[in-house]
Amino acid sequence: MKIEPWTLKKSSKCYNCGDATIHEVNIDQYKMTIKCRECGFTRYYNFHILETPE
């Protein structure tokens, strides 16, 4: 079950620099990273579980 990586953008207020900036959201099967384009502040998420429909 191969999941293609995605790259998305979200404009929002940055938790670090406080500016309204563009954040790059990168998602793949195992992780997700969110990076502020202005200051470089990055949050990392790890894949946890898959929930499938009954």
Binding site: E4, W6, S12, K31, Y44, L50
Partner: protein, 169 residues
């Protein structure tokens, strides 16, 4: 643009509706209890116009209902609609969405204490890895967790935060 969203439900469905709103990322709402009469129930009635008759009429025929109100961003509306519909598809409910021109909040000189909870919603239309349908895959990102789900089959991938990195550290 921000919207004022009102969800009208019968009182026994209040819990379901509140959970549905919370699931769709709503973090604050207020509730108004009211006595409701639907047009179908009302049709054919006419009442004596003294206040006592009117009140008796309402006590006897109206249903206890609640209105859950919240303010949200436009992009969040389809997610709320979907979530409420999923939770209450066999029940009666009404949703009214009203665009807001302006919001003025005065903190009376006190600092706003709680940091605004920020939840992001994103969407990507691609074939679902589970059901294969080319449909919207929704992404919800919270501070400490995130999830991606298929709007067709509901298959959901959950992620949890591992950490963060400030540049130059």
């Amino acid at each position: 643009m921000k919207f004022h969203l009102r969800v009208f439900v019968e009182i026994e469905n209040l819990g379901k509706a509140m959970n549905a709103l919370t699931d769709s990322g709503i973090t604050g709402f207020y509730i108004i209890e009211y006595k409701g009469m639907s047009p179908e129930d009302w049709e054919g009635f006419s009442i004596k116009e003294d206040p006592k008759s009117a009140i008796t009429m309402i006590k006897d025929y109206a249903t206890d209902a609640v209105q859950i109100c919240t303010v949200l961003n436009e992009e969040q509306i389809p997610i709320v609609e979907e979530s409420v519909n999923k939770a209450l598809k066999d029940d009666r409910y009404t949703i009214i969405e009203i665009p807001i021109r302006k919001i003025i909040v005065n903190y009376g000189g006190q600092e706003k204490k709680s940091k605004e909870v920020d939840v992001w919603f994103l969407e990507k239309k691609v074939p679902c890895f589970y059901c294969g349908e080319d449909t919207a895959q929704r992404i919800r990102i919270d501070m400490n967790k995130a999830k991606i789900w298929c709007t067709n089959c509901g298959a959901t991938r959950h992620y949890i935060v591992k950490g963060s990195e400030k540049p130059g550290e």
